[in-house]
């Protein structure tokens, strides 16, 4: 069972709430009660895994999680209010690869259950009101196009209006190719929108999760006043395959992991998912 299947499981469960209950449990559904850790191969009950914030109970491997699961983990119950969800992607370039971009968008929505590769809003972290954004890797690899850029820029602007700190949780393969140079420009747009926070002495915490690459790592994600990462997340500018092809040598085993970045002075701290909410709250409190 792969990580993908776990998300399927959740979606199906949601769908089933609307449908009349089924009498028989299929073999597939039975197998979905279990998950195998991709790192240590231990088989774990999905309920147990979820209760452990999708961290392997044996080896502490951090599973990739959806944006909405992340919100559930980080934001106090009943305090979340999504903003700018009505900003939707459009096919500005009439981009067609093996299929037209609008079809890819429809597929991404279905697959992820999200409207774009980031969800933004206002919510409380241990009682502290925060402008919060979390990327959705299930939506075209968490790629940043016009909508991601606009939602982040507006989140920063809302934070300034309401005098709130900003927390962005990143996971992304990089820029959205389907929007061409417009995507590249989102790097400049997000970076300068977040710059305005400094003038207002508003804290911006960037949390890097597995994986964070390319146009996202080379823009807002690396510009946090404080940058933290989940353990063993892969974070970098260029993908490891591209680097191996360029330099024609094997890369070290820990290359581009959170711990590697910490060792090389690029991030402030590595924080386990189980400590993440507490750490965010503490930092926000200290900067009030």
């Amino acid at each position: 069972m792969s990580i993908k299947d776990l998300f399927k499981f959740k979606r199906r469960k949601n769908l089933e709430q609307a449908k009349p209950s089924q009498e028989l449990i299929s073999e597939q559904e039975l197998s979905e009660l279990w998950a195998q850790c991709p790192s240590c191969k231990t088989t774990i009950y999905t309920t147990e895994l979820k209760a452990n914030l999708m961290v392997c109970t044996k080896c502490e491997h951090h599973f990739r999680i959806s944006s909405y699961d992340r919100i559930e983990q980080m934001i106090d119950a009943d305090t979340w209010e999504e903003i700018n969800g009505s900003i939707k992607p459009t096919d500005a370039l009439n981009f067609v690869d093996l299929k037209p971009y609008p079809e890819s968008i429809i597929g991404a929505k279905k697959k992820s259950g999200a409207t774009e590769a980031i969800v933004t809003g206002i919510g409380k972290i241990n009682g502290l009101e925060t402008a919060f954004g979390v990327m959705e890797f299930g939506f075209l690899g968490g790629s940043m196009g016009s909508v991601v850029g606009e939602r982040i820029a507006r989140l920063a602007e809302t934070a300034i209006q309401k005098k709130l700190p900003v927390v962005l949780i990143s996971t992304s393969g990089g820029a959205r190719m389907h929007e061409g140079l417009l995507s590249l420009m989102q790097m400049a747009k997000t970076s300068s929108a977040l710059l305005a926070l400094k003038k207002h002495k508003l804290l911006f915490i960037s949390v890097l999760t597995d994986p964070t690459y390319g146009g996202v790592s080379a823009s807002f994600a690396m510009l946090g006043d404080i940058i933290m990462a989940e353990p063993k997340a892969k974070i970098g500018f260029a993908g490891p395959r591209v680097i191996e092809e360029t330099i024609r040598q094997k890369l070290p085993k820990d290359f581009q992991t959170s711990e590697y970045l910490l060792k090389h002075g690029q991030i402030d701290l590595v924080v386990s998912r189980k400590e993440l909410k507490k750490t965010l709250a503490q930092l926000i409190k200290m900067h009030k």
């Binding site: 009505s86 900003i87 939707k88 992607p89 459009t90 500005a92 370039l93 981009f95 690869d97 093996l98 016009s146 909508v147 850029g149 606009e150 820029a153 820029a175 959205r176 190719m177 929007e179 061409g180 140079l181 417009l182 995507s183 590249l184 420009m185 989102q186 790097m187 400049a188 747009k189 970076s191 300068s192 929108a193 977040l194 710059l195 390319g214 146009g215 790592s217 080379a218 823009s219 807002f220 994600a221 690396m222 510009l223 974070i235 970098g236 500018f237 260029a238 993908g239 591209v242 680097i243 360029t246 330099i247 040598q249 070290p252 290359f255 581009q256 590697y260 090389h264 002075g265 690029q266």
Partner: protein, 319 residues
């Protein structure tokens, strides 16, 4: 007519004609062939005009990557006087994929120029890392931007890079952060900034020098979020579809002007920038003078705020 040593596929008929003309001109009975030579020359110019006015995105990509295309140091020779190159990031390295320094664009107008440099021969290319900067190169650029700000000099960046270097050391030394930092700091500068895509505008590695009040592109340059080969490999699952990707990505100056992501196209000489350095440099200088003239009337705060707003407004979506 410039006799290039490197010939692109679609230029082949042109060079066949050129060869013929040269042969005839070297012949002993040159006088007798005068009419024939004239006729062939006219054919050559007509054909060149025809080829160069109907280029595909993929052909422009090849011109943008032409090994004889003028690079930053070539432009500087014809752009002004008293070039003084300034080296180093001040913290341990001088990345020669990026050159920077001071130039008198006009007798009383000193500008800071920062540009990528690919190098023209193998030795130079290695020294310049094929124009692919390391983090230290972006740090050098940023240091020079700050210098310009301190002494209130306009900044001109000349961009021709496949992208930031994808290497082990580059990652270890914070390539992502170096690019992100430059993008953010450039947005915040209080002096006029003009960025010119002279050849390849390769993704984040280009944008790290590209957050400017005015963004100009040479007629046959390209500016892209990813190389067409890289895009094809991911979305088409084969690098062979680079030409399709080049079309889909809208990387040419004309297309980007239409979308509104650049401000002006600088014309190249007939046959591409590589055919005539002097003319191309003169065209660049004219464009720079025009835009600097407009920007110098603006206050520091206007320059900063307008630049931030310009990039703030980029994006197409529905609501």
């Amino acid at each position: 007519m410039n006799k290039n040593t490197f010939v692109l596929d679609f230029e082949k008929p042109l060079f066949a004609l050129l060869n013929e003309i040269n042969k005839l001109e070297e012949a002993t009975d040159k006088q007798k062939c005068a009419d024939l030579i004239e006729g062939l020359k006219k054919q050559f110019y007509d054909l060149r005009e025809r080829i160069y006015s109907n280029l595909t995105a993929h052909q422009r990509l090849q011109i943008a990557r032409h090994p004889e295309r003028p690079y930053t140091l070539d432009f500087i020779k014809g752009l002004g006087e008293n070039w003084i190159e300034l080296h180093g990031n001040r913290t341990g390295a001088d990345d020669e994929a990026i050159v920077g320094g001071l130039l008198e664009l006009e007798p009383n107008l000193t500008v800071v120029i920062v540009g990528t440099e690919k190098g023209h021969n193998i030795k130079e290319k290695q020294r310049r890392n094929f124009g692919m900067p390391q983090p230290s190169g972006y740090q050098k650029a940023l240091r020079l931007f700050k210098h310009a700000e301190t002494f209130e000099m306009p900044i001109i960046t000349l961009i021709d890079t496949p992208g930031a270097y994808p290497g082990l050391e580059a990652e270890a030394n914070g390539q992502s952060w170096a690019i992100a930092k430059n993008i953010q700091e450039m947005a915040n500068l209080t002096v006029p900034v003009i960025a010119v895509i002279t050849g390849e505008g390769g993704s984040g590695g280009a944008l790290a020098l590209g957050v400017a009040n005015k963004v100009l592109m040479f007629e046959n340059s390209v500016y892209s979020v990813i190389s067409p080969e890289g895009c094809a490999a991911i979305l088409w699952r084969t690098r062979d579809k680079a030409a399709s990707a080049a079309n889909a990505l809208k990387i040419t100056a004309k297309e980007l002007l239409e979308i509104g992501l650049i401000d002006e196209i600088i014309p190249e000489s007939a046959g591409g920038a590589h055919a005539d350095y002097l003319q191309t440099t003169a065209n660049l200088k004219t464009a720079l003078q025009k835009h600097l003239g407009i920007l110098k009337t603006k206050s520091k705060e206007e320059l900063r705020a307008e630049r931030i707003l310009k990039f703030r407004n980029y994006g197409i979506f529905t609501q």
